[in-house]
Amino acid sequence: MKADPKGVLTGAHFLDGDHACCEGALAAGCRCAFGYPITPSTEVVERISRRFPMVGGVFLQMEDEIGSSIAIQGAAWGGKKVMTVSSGPGISLMMEHIGLAAMTETPCVFVNVQRGGPSTGLPTLTGQADMMQARWGSHGDYETIAICPNSPQECFDLAIDAFNLAEQYRIPVMFMMDESVGHMTERVVIPEADEIDIVERRYTKKPPSDDYELYALEDDNPFVPPMPPVGEGYRFHVTGLTHDDKGYPAMDAQTQQKLIRRIVDKIRLNADAIAKYEEYQTEDADIILVAYGITSRVVIRTMEMAREKGLKVGVFRPVIVWPFPETRLKELMDQTKAFVVAELNYGQVVLEVERLVAGRAKVVLAGHGGGDIHDPKEILRLVEEVAK
């Protein structure tokens, strides 16, 4: 299906990442959002509150992030494509409902414009230290999808992917911007609506009946059950408790294992289909810089400087960080002496790289506490050391 032209601001614009994210959501068909102000994400909801009333949408500012993160789920079951927007402290408050969305398989998008943490940290300055939280911040066992745009253009383009993936897999998608990307203004080209692919909600084809099973699989899709429309007589029950196919609570180990296995597998076993990454000069590289979000732009500079010095350095950039593009990284591993992982934290995604590489190549962290981006020269020094 193609985007509804009503929400698509076709043309070339100068937008910051926060504003571009709002336009991406609109293009994706989001007409319902709930939020609470927090720096550096506030501009997203400010633009939403200006734009939505003109396209038949609705934005409600809630009393807090806890309310926002569950109001979107009521609206999602009500048939809307939904999102909420926040930053570290607010995202921490939303964690319980990210778990609820995972457990009830509610399609929704959580935008996190990352800032320095922990706690109140650096409200106005950048960070990338919420990556592990994005993966498993809520209690219990589940998988999410986490997308890391590195430009305002991508805040638009990938926001559409975020909504599409949320519908396709019925999960909370974490849209992991950072303050640098959120507040950076660049040219953003918004295509014609008929050039934008939209994944519509998949509704059950079964008629309402007493035997209707809320979580029964259909259409040969072995992972993701379709949803029922609300208000049409299905009279279904949704619960955050462990539930059977009917949607009824079932407090036993068997039901738990069946449900959680599927919730986890629908992402893990589709990791290759979900994977999205970019590579620069990896063909002959024996040292590969791994970075995501704003840092993936910094390491390009490092790569250029290293190449000038005759070092064979490339860049591997996971665009979707969770699930990690594992298959491709393993392929690169065979040709690579070392991976240098640059991120604005003191070691999160590097742990995943270490796990995959499992000692078969060197893995080095170029860590940074946040508040600023890396100096590409600092990363270069590490590269030179590794190259020795």
Partner: protein
């Protein structure tokens, strides 16, 4: 004999998930009475059951959503109101009811409660108040009468309890009533009244929890609870909500206290936006016919 008359069916059955019976509630518990009253209210008002949703939080009362055979949502602790706000916003044509306990709605969920009332979210909120956290074994609740005993107040509570009708009224609810589970007729009538009333309607139902609250406070069984409600309830319709707080073993003022009108959250939004944006505004449905 025709097939229909062969099988005797309780008239409440079409509204309940009979495949989930027996329910989890104790004998003598007041929650079942609330369920029953709601079914009666629905039967009497010939509502389109498909266009009605029930949302609950966590706790003994939170299990209500699981037993009503409607689109139903058993959410997280304290959050049924914001979930319901989202559902109602997405589907203004739906009739959205929240059933939960006092711990859920006004302790952990207190912030959502006051703000939804302030905005006049178009929700029907039924609070079953049994003065304790029953599901977790009887800890002190936000409405527990002073000096009552709880597992976390073994010598008696010393925190001032909330007076819920006063809280609801001062936060902006358009309809506020309190009944006990003894007042089934009035309860059904209140439910019928709020069914079609736009805005934030609040109904407090004082209910016995014989297993936990009454046992610990030596207040007898379920029947003793009902006897207490019968003897010590005073119907004062239109009572000043400042004066309806509940003391341990004291009188319980019941009645319809508030019934007023103001625009719902979506109506207010619609009015403001159409006024300010004019033709640029694409009207959003409010679900209210006035």
């Amino acid at each position: 004999m025709s097939k229909e008359t062969n099988k005797e069916m309780n008239p409440v059955e079409p509204y309940l998930r009979m495949d989930r019976m027996p329910h989890i509630w104790c004998s003598g518990c007041g929650i079942g009475i609330v369920v029953n009253c709601f079914v009666r209210a629905l039967q009497k008002s010939k509502v389109d059951i498909n266009k009605l949703a029930v949302v609950s939080g966590i706790g003994c009362t939170g299990r209500i959503a699981g037993y009503f055979k409607v689109d139903s949502f058993h959410t997280t602790h304290g959050r049924p109101i914001p979930f319901a706000t989202g559902l109602k916003t997405a589907r203004p044509d739906m009739n959205v009811w929240v059933f939960s306990g006092e711990g859920d709605l006004v302790s952990i969920g207190g912030n959502h409660f006051i703000h939804a009332a302030r905005r006049n979210a178009d929700l029907k909120v039924i609070c079953v108040n049994n003065f304790t956290y029953a599901m977790t074994g009887g800890q002190v609740g936000p409405t527990a009468p002073l000096h009552s005993i709880a597992t976390t107040a073994p010598y008696g509570t010393y925190d001032q309890p909330f007076n819920l009708p006063f809280l609801a009224e001062s936060s902006g609810a358009v309809y506020v009533a309190r009944w006990t589970t003894f007042h089934v007729r009035q309860l059904v009538k209140s439910m019928q009244e709020i069914k079609n009333k736009p805005g934030f309607s609040f109904l407090e139902v004082i209910a016995p929890c014989p297993t936990i609250y009454q046992r610990r406070n030596r207040l007898g069984d379920g029947l003793a609870g009902m006897r207490y409600y019968k003897e010590r309830s005073k119907v004062v319709n239109g009572a000043d909500t400042r004066n309806v707080d509940i003391k341990l073993g004291g009188d319980i003022i019941v009645g319809k206290f508030i019934d007023r009108d103001r625009p719902t959250q979506l109506e207010a939004m619609d009015q403001e936006l159409s006024h300010k944006l004019g033709d640029k505004y694409v009207p959003y449905p409010t679900g209210v016919e006035r």
